[in-house]
Symmetry: C2
Subunit: 332 residues, 2 copies
């Protein structure tokens, strides 16, 4: 029997993930419910692609309010939590995830806040009930990092991490580097293109990078850090002069999140050599794991948007595999 999935949060990612599931992209999963901020729709027989085409609020059977009753009443086996990141509380996602895990319902999420803010609590809850908690979509968009460490680097050890984890600030710094723009001009351009938000504080002051770094430190390196342990400096005081001096010296200014070998977490603008693999431009993200045996391993890809769908679907696939609903997917 297929796993019954609820997609909670129906923005850019939610719509795409719901459509992918309704079109059968992951065998062994049935999309039985979708929720947005105003309410939810529940179809035990499965939602169709046609039903997802318009506004779900106009579908017959749309219920106003929170879909949490679907979790409480055992109507779903898998919560795919895609509501937006909300600081400082992580709510309502945190409550949704706790509710699911405590009832043994598996969780896949791309919402950074609950994982960054309550990693230890949530993983302990997951362990105690046996429910899975997967969150590849929270860091690095379509770049596999958590699952990479878990399935491709067993038997090695991650000693340190260094990365560009925020596409917005990387876009701004790249425009300053290549076009000589000031920070203010580059930010305005990014806002006009929809790359930066109206209130860009979380990105440009380094908090978004800090949340992602925290998730990597705790999950990939097995540390136990909290947001207050991260030393955070943003890019708003990076001057055009500093960027141009760096450029003349064959360097670029990049907002780097790093976990040092002794476990210190830092987010700050750093000088990076132009031929360092991590020195990528535009909205790209790049992360280097320093491994004890394999040395430096760098991954580069799009850090947000559509590519994140791949990370979410891979996590869903993993849930289906572990729950034994996918025959022959391993060992072929």
């Amino acid at each position: 029997m297929s796993l019954r999935a609820l997609v909670n949060g129906y923005g850019f990612l939610g719509r795409r993930v719901a459509r992918a599931l309704a079109s059968g992209k992951v065998p062994g999963v049935k999309l039985v419910a979708v929720a947005r901020s105003t309410g939810y729709i529940h179809r035990p027989g499965g939602l169709t692609l046609e039903e997802l085409e318009g506004d779900i609020a106009s579908l017959e059977g749309f219920v106003e309010g929170s879909p949490i009753s679907l979790l409480e009443d055992g109507k779903v086996d898998l919560l795919i939590e895609l509501t937006p990141t909300n600081l400082p509380t992580g709510e309502p996602a945190l409550t949704h995830i706790k509710t699911a895990l405590s009832r043994g319902i598996d969780v896949v999420t791309a919402n950074k806040a609950p994982i960054a803010l309550a990693y230890r609590e949530l993983t302990e809850l997951s362990r105690s009930t046996g429910a899975l908690l997967l969150f590849e979509g929270t860091v690095g968009g379509g770049i596999p990092l958590v699952s990479l460490r878990r399935f491709c680097l067993r038997g090695d050890e991650v000693l340190s991490i260094r990365g560009i984890l925020n596409g917005t600030t990387n876009y701004i710094l790249s425009r300053m580097h290549f076009e000589g723009l000031t920070f203010e001009l580059a930010l305005r351009e990014a806002q006009n293109l929809g790359i930066a938000e109206r209130d860009p504080t979380l990105d440009i002051e380094g908090y978004d990078t800090a949340l992602k770094l925290l998730i990597l430190a705790n999950s990939v390196m097995g540390l136990n850090r909290r947001l207050e342990d991260v030393r955070i400096t943003g890019i708003s005081r990076v001057t055009a002069d500093a960027v141009s001096l760096a450029k003349e010296a064959g360097l670029a200014v990049k907002l780097i999140g790093s976990v040092s070998p002794d476990g210190h977490l830092t987010v700050a603008p750093r000088l990076v050599k132009l031929n360092d693999p991590i020195c990528v431009h535009g909205t790209l993200n790049a992360v280097t794991f320093r491994l004890r045996t394999a040395g430096d391993l760098t991954l580069i890809g799009e850090g947000a948007g559509e590519p994140t769908v791949t990370s979410i679907l891979n996590d869903v696939w993993e849930v289906v595999t572990v729950r034994g609903r996918l025959t022959g997917a391993r060992g072929t």
Copy 2:
């Protein structure tokens, strides 16, 4: 009960993998036999680190000849085949692997030849007996590519591949680029440093890249190609002038292996932009998967030597996981 492993091939990688297993780096595996070209040693109770310190041929119980009887007589559950790549036959590794798979014995290998030359035959054999065939160590050294596609990108599709898959040629081209050396001088330097072999034909004429590309095309993209389908041009006719003209234009000459979206395999020197993520230098390897949803995903790392141990151990870990000898390794 632990899986009984045979490490066949006792060179650089074989020694390191044997030591890692004897020191318990992968739980659920016991190293019961090690073989080199002249003979093998079999200890049903497990080989110790101390025994592996000297020459295994001097150990009591060392048997001259092939260890194939250990496979035939059901003395091992896992063959770790690390003999050197041998063209054009792929032997004796091909026979070892076939013998193991046909008896239901799982195989992990870093030997390119059998996988490149007989991919279809070996995977069909593996499917028919249920024995696993894992070969992450054959491509990209410590860079996970086969397992990345298998465990981290499910639900997406690899449309094309482009990569620098040979560290020796990349070292030579990098020295030509940065120091203005001729091909002949750079090759001689690489030979003196032990980066290039005395007979460097396989590397510099592109055959090593072609074998790896073939493995990726067949395993990661699910194609059914043979070595004769690959158009191969090496780097021996790349001139210092060509490299320096490219450099002036912000480009570098790189030996690129590519699988096009319509399934054509090509190995040839190509011009690559200096800020293309794939444009790495020295002995580094880099591979870009173009994915339908996640876009371009690039991995960069060391393509040979010690890092390959990580790929091999991860494959061993996977065998142990699938065989259920590792409790709690998934879903935690």
